[in-house]
């Protein structure tokens, strides 16, 4: 009697299944790309925002904070910090500027990054832009 469970069939299923689902992923990715303009707040993606994203990256902000829930869990979520700070970019800038160089005894504290005015404005605008992304109503409340 013939073999009822063969290695070659298992192999074919692996190849076939992988290709199948990879193509499906590509199809959904393609659809997502066409949907993004309505969701990603790109109309507000200015040069300033792009600079702010660079500042965000260069200072490894994601090493402590989450942004839209992704990052480290040591410091508050910043996807909605613009709203939490009363829809004020000045409040964001003020907070960043006022961080003590040597920290706060016994407490977590954000480092003093000594950002230039341009960088400060950029990061604040970046966070404002981020808060305008359609995140399907996440986070559940203002606390992030």
């Amino acid at each position: 009697m013939s073999e009822t469970f063969t290695k070659s069939m298992a192999r074919n299923i692996f190849y076939g299944g992988s290709v199948f689902f990879f193509l499906l992923l590509l199809a959904l990715t393609f659809d997502t790309e066409s949907a993004l303009p309505e969701l990603d707040n790109r109309e507000n993606l200015t040069e300033e925002v792009a600079l702010g994203k660079r500042v965000w990256e260069k200072n490894n902000c994601v090493g402590c904070h989450t942004l839209l829930g992704e990052g480290a869990y040591f410091a508050p979520e910043l996807g909605n910090v613009y709203q939490r700070f009363g829809n004020s970019t000045d409040a964001i800038k003020g907070f960043i500027m006022s961080r003590p160089k040597d920290g706060i005894p016994g407490r977590r504290s954000m480092p003093q990054f000594n950002l230039s005015d341009e960088e400060l404005e950029g990061i604040a605008q970046f966070l404002k832009y981020t808060s305008g992304i359609n995140t399907q109503n996440w986070p559940p409340n203002i606390q992030g």
Binding site: F5, K7, A10, R11, I13, F14, G17, S18, F20, F21, F22, L24, L25, L28, T32, A35, L36, L39, D40, R42, L45, E57, K58, N59, N60, C61, V62, G63, C64, T66, L67, L68, G69, E70, A72, Y73, F74, A75, P76, E77, G103, I104, P105, G106, R107, R108, S109, P111, Q112, F113, T130, I133, T135, Q136, W138, P139, P140, I142, Q143, G144
Partner: protein, 464 residues
């Protein structure tokens, strides 16, 4: 050791373990910073320590995978490695690049490191887990390509087995998907979307192939079960991994600015992601039960069974806990994620590399099959200390995460992130304690290499 060139694996494994120690040391620093906020501030701020912790993990696992491949591929292909010289050369390049990068993190502020490495020319820095300077990333690509070339050529001139083929596909996928690390669009949503093509398609995609292949290899060697049977199951398991895991990527797309349908697609497919891990557990125990021989290296068998169980718990169960969109809405980006991350990485990838090291190190050290009894007993102790510690780390983080989710997200009167952190501090203290135990377990593990070296090899006890 059947082929002389397999010995290039040894330096890879030694450096892997050394970096592992570094990773855990920084882990304990991070744990302490969670409760003593100004610990080592401003010299080593949290983000730097975390970067060192996660990057060391990735780099040492890569060292482990490469070492495993250099050991495994010649034996499967029944031929010497194509170029042992290239393997050693790449070892040094990777080791130096890795050490320099970590020193860069520690010695200068991250922004300065970005300046020094001229990140503005081709910006790729500052994204989670992919913080390496662009120049390091290019180095990783060069090392990966040379490595794939080396083992690919070895396979071409020798026997082609399912195990080596699957390993090769996994490692090639690893290199290919890493290329998304070079795509950093200005658009944050796209940035996040394609970032997952590295991170998710690594750990919930092609790395599972690598894990499956290594596990299959060790099981073939230690149980003596027919290769046909093991390879057949290997294919079925990794088929399941990719079938569920590819669309399962969607569970990262719920709240980052992508269309709502990902909540459905992601939930449905990622709900099935535990299946391949469950199959792997069944598979490992089944093969060991059907063994045709008792292998004297019982420590390696323990690791192999351990990794199958812990991968299922960490990746499967803890992943499922928060993968459904309605649950994830509240748990996204909390300590629940951290709990899952810790146990999944330990169970699936740390333990599979340690399985391979445990299996091959005796031979690399000139033994016939196994270390002495004394050494194995110490190693098994380290297995239990580390594994139990990790279970507790995961449980404490889960506790913290549940409270955090409730107080900050779920209740009608949510309180702020920092207040919640203070309220759950007791869990962080307990986690730090478990972390110290883990470090002790790791020290015991390292000690096992220096114990019982001059004693005779363990022999097979009475057949069970």
């Amino acid at each position: 050791m059947t082929y002389q060139s397999q010995s290039v694996a040894k330096p890879y494994f030694i450096v892997a373990i050394a970096l592992f120690v570094g990773q855990i040391l920084f882990g304990t620093i991070l744990g302490l910073q969670y409760v003593i906020g100004d610990f080592l501030f401003p010299e080593i701020p949290f983000n730097v320590a975390r970067m060192v912790h996660t990057n060391l993990l990735i780099v040492w696992l890569l060292f482990g995978f490469m070492g495993a491949a250099y050991y495994l591929i010649p034996e499967e292909s029944e031929t010497e490695l194509f170029s042992p010289f290239l393997a050693i050369l790449m070892f040094w390049i990777f080791a130096v690049a890795g050490v320099l990068t970590i020193l860069g993190y520690l010695l200068v502020p991250y922004a300065t490191l970005a300046e020094l490495t001229m990140d503005d020319l081709f910006p790729t820095m500052g994204r989670e887990f992919l913080e390496q300077p662009t120049i390091t990333k290019i180095g990783i690509v060069i090392v990966a390509l040379s490595f794939l070339f080396n083992i690919g050529m070895t396979m071409l001139k020798g026997r082609k087995t399912a195990v080596s083929l699957v390993l090769m596909i996994g490692l090639t996928g690893l290199a290919v998907f890493f290329l998304f690390a070079f795509y950093v669009p200005e658009n944050l949503v796209k940035d996040k979307f394609y970032w997952w093509f590295v991170v998710h398609l690594w750990v919930e995609g092609v790395w599972e192939l690598i894990m499956g292949a290594i596990l299959a290899f060790v099981l073939i060697k230690t149980t003596g079960v027919d290769r046909e049977v093991i390879e057949k199951w290997l294919y079925v398991i990794i088929a399941m991994s990719l079938i569920t895991g590819l669309i399962g990527t969607g569970h990262h797309f719920y709240w980052i600015g992508t269309p709502e349908y990902w909540q459905w697609w992601g939930s449905i497919f990622s709900a099935m992601e535990p299946i391949p891990f469950f199959m792997m557990t069944i598979f490992a125990f089944n093969m060991v039960n059907r063994r045709r021989r008792n292998h004297p290296n019982q420590a390696a068998v323990l690791w192999a069974l351990g990794t199958a169980v812990m991968a299922f718990l960490g990746a499967g169960v803890w992943g499922f806990l928060h993968t459904l969109a309605p649950v994830n809405y509240f748990t996204h980006g909390t300590q629940i994620t951290a709990a899952h991350g810790h146990m999944a990485f330990y169970g699936a990838y740390v333990m599979i590399v340690l399985t391979m090291i445990s299996y091959s190190m005796p031979m690399l050290n000139g033994r016939k099959e196994a270390n002495s009894n004394k050494s194995q007993i110490v190693e098994m102790w380290s297995f239990w200390i580390m594994t139990v510690s990790m279970v507790f780390i995961t449980l404490f983080l889960t506790g913290a995460g549940i409270l955090q989710t409730y107080m900050q997200r779920y209740t009608d009167t949510p309180i702020s992130f920092m207040e919640v952190q203070d309220k759950v501090a007791i869990f962080y203290w307990l986690r730090e304690g478990a972390g110290i135990f883990f470090l002790i377990g790791l020290i015991v593990y390292v000690a096992s290499f220096f114990i019982g070296g001059d004693e005779p090899e363990a022999t097979v006890k009475d057949a069970a």
